[in-house]
Subunit: 419 residues, 2 copies
């Protein structure tokens, strides 16, 4: 988080009026440019997508996997061994505890909750639908699509604040004493939207804490585990090995190969996977093996995956640097905002003056700059302090990003001055 030197509140009335005239002028000029820029979602850019174009011609005539499987025919509930082996090495987990699925890890998360709701999971005394009110821990700010799932099932979402080392574990340990608390969302590495990676103590407390519910689950959405911006790959903790049935761990190649057309993975304990497969086998025959084979051929091995990630880092790092540079140069001195400085992931979390986030997004929209809706990183879209904005720098080229972020800074200042 970013401190400040000369805060807005310390300005004289004259200085304040002068600044407001200046910023209002900048905003009017911004509006007059009729921009159409978008910082809403964590989408890869065309430059990033070009990294994996060769994958789109695979597998070609090499449709037999190395274990002899003809990937063009039915069968194989848990996915191709070849892609599971590569990914298990990337994550540092056991192959037998890793399922390769279709393209969406979100699909897997939804199904895990849906099937626990209908039938209970392998540690449930009864289906979650037959519990009283199911409660769910939601570190905030967090990933909006997580919260949408638990809202859809009518779970009561209880927020705990994110800190620079993970969720506030004192609060989490207190909450899990309630047997109605059945689970928790986390993005443990380069998290959405804070960029925070959980430290060893946080992970240890999540592994060892006593929960009143025997069927409590942590949805360990490791979507950004290898999405470094500085080409340093942090160590990935094998929580499944440490945590028994507690962790449902997900990842995918959506932000590695093709967004929404990659391979998603589910890593969990033997018992959890047996339970999952008992339902997955009724839902269908198995995942798209052709797509999995293409990915295995394209990557070759775990090092091949890291090579791709280094290319992404080189594309993304200048964009993150540009956003941080503009935030610092435009807002640093006024004490009207704080922001995260991630070394990985897809987002920067910006906290503006409490009570002004919605106004900032509105001002930006009127100037042709689309930002993620204020509050989107909170359950029910409700940021109680109305201060958080998620910035997604990946999609636009640097030149556009620069224009957009300079505009956002103007909007942040103007909203602060209005208030």
């Amino acid at each position: 988080m970013e401190g400040t030197d000369v805060a807005l509140k310390d300005l004289t009335a004259e200085q304040f009026a002068e600044l407001k005239t200046d910023i209002q002028g900048k905003y009017d000029e911004l509006k007059s440019r009729n921009l159409k820029l978008n910082l809403t979602r964590g989408k890869p850019s065309s430059e990033q997508l070009d990294i994996c174009t060769d994958l789109l011609s695979l597998p070609g005539e090499n449709f037999i996997d190395k274990d002899g499987t003809d990937c063009r025919n039915y069968g194989n509930l848990v996915g191709l061994t070849s892609i599971r082996e590569i990914w298990a090495e990337v994550l540092g987990v056991e192959v037998k505890n890793l399922i390769a699925a279709d393209s969406s890890s979100l699909n897997i998360m939804f199904d895990l909750i849906s099937w626990s709701y209908i039938w209970g999971n392998n540690d449930s005394e009864k289906p979650w639908k037959d519990e009283g009110q199911v409660k769910w821990i939601c570190p905030v700010p967090g990933y909006d699509r997580h919260f949408t799932i638990t809202e859809h099932f009518g779970f009561e979402m209880i927020t705990v604040p994110m800190t620079p080392i993970g969720p506030d574990m004192d609060q989490v340990e207190e909450l899990v004493k309630d047997p109605q608390v059945k689970g928790m969302w986390v993005v443990p590495m380069f998290g959405n939207p804070t960029g925070v990676t959980f430290d060893a103590d946080t992970i240890n407390r999540l592994v060892t804490m006593e929960t009143a519910a025997p069927d409590f689950r942590v949805v360990w959405d490791n979507a950004y585990a290898i999405h470094t911006l500085d080409e340093n790959f942090p160590e990935i903790t094998d929580v499944v090995k440490l945590g028994g049935n507690r962790f449902w761990s997900m990842s995918s190649t959506s932000k590695i190969t093709q967004a929404g057309a990659g391979v998603a993975f589910f890593n969990s304990s033997d018992e959890n996977l047996t339970w999952y497969n008992s339902h997955a086998l009724v839902r269908g025959i198995g995942p798209n093996k052709i797509n999995q084979l293409a990915h295995a051929q394209f990557f070759g091995d775990a090092e091949g995956v890291k090579q791709v990630m280094r290319k992404h880092a080189r594309s993304l790092a200048p964009k993150f640097a540009k956003v941080l540079e503009i935030l610092e140069s435009r807002l640093g001195e006024y004490g009207v905002a704080e922001w995260t400085k991630p070394t990985g992931g897809y987002f920067i979390s910006l906290d503006v003056v409490p009570g002004t986030a919605k106004r900032v997004v509105e001002l930006a929209k009127d100037a042709g700059i689309a930002l993620t809706a204020a509050g989107a990183s909170f359950p029910y879209g409700n940021d109680p302090e109305n201060k958080n904005i998620r910035l997604a720098p990946s999609l636009p080229p640097v030149e556009e990003l620069e224009i957009a972020m300079d505009g956002v800074a103007t909007c942040v200042l103007l909203a602060a001055l209005e208030q």
Copy 2:
């Protein structure tokens, strides 16, 4: 169905003993060959899979759809317009009423029932989980994976017999007077396993019958709509247009391009699709568009799809002819079996002497010929007459199929003689 000339029951004791010695000898000889043949499931053969090998190099560098969509990035809940347009023409339905999904239509069926169970569908007064016993109509013999889904949700499955023109509609019309009857499985064209295509009167009665449940649904699994064996494509009725919200219609390219790696489609009314999408949007962002684009490029247009199907027909027709020829020559005279003579689809439904189907499958297994488990085409795997066996001729080459079917005929006769 097949009649007979000289029935087993009309043989003299001497003739009977002579035949039994002969057949037992044939069976012993069969066993001594240590065969390993498989007629269990409706899998395409390698020869069929080779028809679409060119698809496996697509889309290559042409990853932009004709409407400008970069198929490598996120977005598009309902699937690519280009593949939806081609498939809508194949089915003769409106593009706006057709969703293109990932590879499995079974996944869609499961989700439709799951979401109706949890939240109710768009015509439900309450979620199906809050109903008393949900009941479901199952024409038999039918598709085992259908029955497994409704068994998994604890629905009471009520069987009605298939006739050569569709399910017994007198029984269906009677059953739907019960408000607990919420739906019905059907495979309306070249059905699994009978090969029957519903006639116009059957379809009309399904469209117009009064159901006590307002949220009653027919799962119209049109998996084999264009899977002709004689290159005649029967007319496909647009039941969605005729039937309002009653029909959930599914199809896929699993037995056209790659099995389990094609594109699945869901065709239904505007209201049904709005309801489906309201849940699908929470489960994920959208389907694999790269795979959809590859399919659109490979087919080109609806005629391209039919060209592929003609090639499949040329591969499959000799296999079906061989099975029918052996059944007729080996069993025709004895009155120990009846079988369907489909002009499309993937299966032949064989009825042996009541009480002997399990024994036939056991005898075949002991001789190294794997058949679908007796009873598999019935809910709970329970064929009350123990007479039905599903034959799947597609996978083995003709020479193997000939050996396998000759063996099966020996087993059918031996089981009949034992009884």
